[in-house]
């Protein structure tokens, strides 16, 4: 097991010591960063600081010096977003700070994505996300998307006011195994249930795992509607998506 002293970057060390309280998360984060190159730690530290110019420059420089795009994404950007997600969940930072970190992630991914696409490397998984019909609120959905992308998922964002047909078409078009729906209004959250019904009517329900969230949504409500999962925040959304993929892998293994 790695020790925190194995991590060279002082900013990362400070972040772990100050903000990561849960023992399992602390251990996992230390293990991650202890085996990461100092340059990647610097990228992660810049991302955590919301420094998009820094992430831009360092990503570019790392690629030019021969570092693999996948290493930069996994060891710099995704590892950094891991700490951001925990700080957000624990209310050490709020939405403006997360938006700045996501902007920094995007600056790095602008270099990484074309390389990964060209090399045919599969993403962690594909997720369709949208706010339900009649609802124009998207900040919660967007935070989930940032965290999902920060965890290596490819996310197709359908935006707001999304109809059943749009959800269905997107799942079919991208062959996505996971769909996430969001609602902020009590008037629109029943539309999640209607969309789930539409997937049943189209005989597609078994092909996709459906997760739901949003300020007024509860586990009980999600269960009543027949959703596969409920996430109360963006980190839970990522955990759910990972769990769905693991279950899918297990199903494949059994077959």
């Amino acid at each position: 097991m790695a020790e925190i002293t194995d991590i060279q970057n002082e900013i990362i060390v400070d972040e772990i010591e100050e903000f990561i309280e849960r023992a399992d998360e602390r251990e996992r984060t230390i293990n991650t960063f202890a085996k990461v190159a100092p340059e990647m730690q610097e990228i992660a530290a810049a991302l955590i600081d919301g420094d998009n110019d820094g992430v831009d420059e360092m990503t570019k420089a790392a690629l030019e010096s021969g570092t693999e795009a996948l290493e930069i994404m996994d060891d710099g950007l995704i590892a950094g977003m891991g700490i951001v997600g925990i700080k957000f969940r624990e209310n050490f930072i709020f939405v403006p700070e997360v938006l700045a970190c996501a902007r920094a992630m995007k600056a790095g991914m602008a270099y990484i994505e074309p390389i990964l696409s060209a090399s045919g490397i599969d993403p962690v998984g594909t997720v369709i996300m949208g706010t339900v019909k009649g609802d124009l609120h998207d900040i919660g959905k967007n935070l989930c998307i940032m965290m999902l992308r920060g965890a290596g998922f490819v996310v197709h964002d359908l935006g707001v006011d999304t109809s059943d047909d749009e959800f269905i078409e997107a799942v079919e078009e991208h062959g996505a195994p996971i769909l996430g729906m969001s609602a902020l209004l009590t008037t629109t959250m029943p539309n999640m249930g209607k969309t789930i019904e539409a997937f049943i009517d189209e005989d597609l329900r078994e092909d996709v795992k459906i997760m739901v969230g949003g300020a007024p949504v509860t586990q009980e409500f999600a269960d009543d509607m027949g959703a596969d999962g409920y996430g109360k925040d963006a980190l839970e959304c990522v955990a759910l998506a990972k769990k769905f993929l693991e279950e899918e892998d297990e199903d494949w293994d059994e077959e």
Binding site: F94, V95, P96, A100, D138, L185, T187, T188
Partner: protein, 351 residues
């Protein structure tokens, strides 16, 4: 037990609400929702459906009055949504149907830079602001002696979401605090102008929603950007002001209590007891019956439980935490005044 005193004689709903907003003695705790009690059932009852009831003063007044005539609340609130002045500022509105609230299309912001902020010359005569002013006049004439007519003027932080878009506005707040303060300073004139116009139309109090919620920003943000502005509103809008912020807010209630606002309409994510401890006697609390889990999904018994919890904690005005879901059953809403009456009967002579 808060402001309840047995020595106070019978009061009208209006007297009760205004006394509670000033933390003065009341005959019983007033039932009040400073946001909206409109439901589809009430729309059908008085033939005043959405979206028309958000745009036509007679329908707006008719639907709002049901909060008193049908539900027995001590206040009437005709502004069911948070879009009226944003529409007048030029935002695009999705008006929706009877079963949904109108919403600002925040993905299509009208301003990108602080220098673009401008109060249109017709801001107060625009149909969607004029509608509110006319509805208040109707309600004042019809019910002004009996219940408190509460208006609503949006704070500059919420207007920032509507006019700049949520994400651009929040990023601006981090990237350029100076510009953000300038933006708020300019947008506050809309808050003041619409607020003062509603006073002239006859409003007894005003709700001032300004969504610096704990779901989005820190308590420190509230102190940095909004505490002084909200204090300024108390001076410039001379009527009891009820600040409304959704979500977890207990970390900023200390600052809110410093503003001099009459009341804070608080969310069920904050416990009544912990909230009362923070604000002490500096500001009245209004709330905080849970909407999605209780009023919308459960029955009168659970509603009663939340009413009692607020009264036991000394909360000065009881009501739903926010605009109630449009499909809420009327019997759940009627249970609120019933439960308040019963609590006071049970506690008669104990105060």
């Amino acid at each position: 037990m808060g402001t309840q005193k047995q020595t106070v004689g019978p009061m009208t709903g209006k007297e009760r609400v205004l006394a509670a907003l000033n933390r003065e003695p009341v005959d019983r705790t007033p039932v009040c929702n400073p946001t909206s009690v409109a439901t589809v059932e009430l729309m059908d009852l008085v033939d005043a459906p959405f979206p028309e009831a958000n745009r036509q003063p007679e329908l707006m007044a008719r639907l709002a009055a049901t909060g008193y005539t049908e539900l027995g609340f001590d206040s009437i609130m005709p502004v069911f949504s948070i879009i009226q002045e944003s529409s007048a500022l030029g935002c695009k509105i999705q008006w929706e149907q009877k079963d949904n609230w109108p919403t600002v299309r925040m993905r299509e912001p009208i301003w990108e830079d602080v220098d673009e902020i401008k109060l249109p010359a017709d801001f107060l005569t625009h149909p969607d602001t004029q509608c509110v002013l006319d509805a208040i006049k109707i309600l004042k004439k019809e019910y002004g002696d009996e219940v408190a007519v509460i208006g609503k003027t949006m704070g500059p932080w919420s207007l920032g979401y509507h006019c700049f878009g949520v994400e651009p506005f929040l990023l601006l707040s981090l990237d350029d605090p100076g510009k953000t303060k300038l933006a708020l300073d300019r947008m506050k004139e809309a808050t003041v102008a619409f607020g003062v116009a509603q006073i002239e139309a006859g409003a007894d109090a005003l709700t001032l929603p300004d969504h610096a919620t704990g779901d989005l920003v820190s308590g420190e943000y509230y102190e940095r950007y909004l505490r002084d502005l909200h204090t300024e509103f108390v001076d410039r809008i001379p009527i009891p002001l009820i600040l409304h912020i959704c979500g977890r807010t207990v970390d900023r209630m200390e600052y809110i209590a410093q503003t001099g606002m009459a009341a804070f309409h608080y969310d069920s994510k904050n416990q009544p007891g912990e909230s009362m401890e923070v604000v002490t006697e500096r500001i009245s609390l209004v709330g905080n019956i849970n909407n999605p889990e209780t009023l919308f999904s459960k029955g009168p018994e659970e509603v009663r439980g939340e009413v009692y919890k607020n009264l036991d904690s000394g909360v000065q005005l009881v009501g739903p935490e926010c605009a109630i879901p449009l499909q809420t059953a009327i019997e759940n809403l009627k249970e609120i005044p019933k439960a308040v009456q019963d609590w006071h009967q049970e506690h008669a002579g104990l105060n």
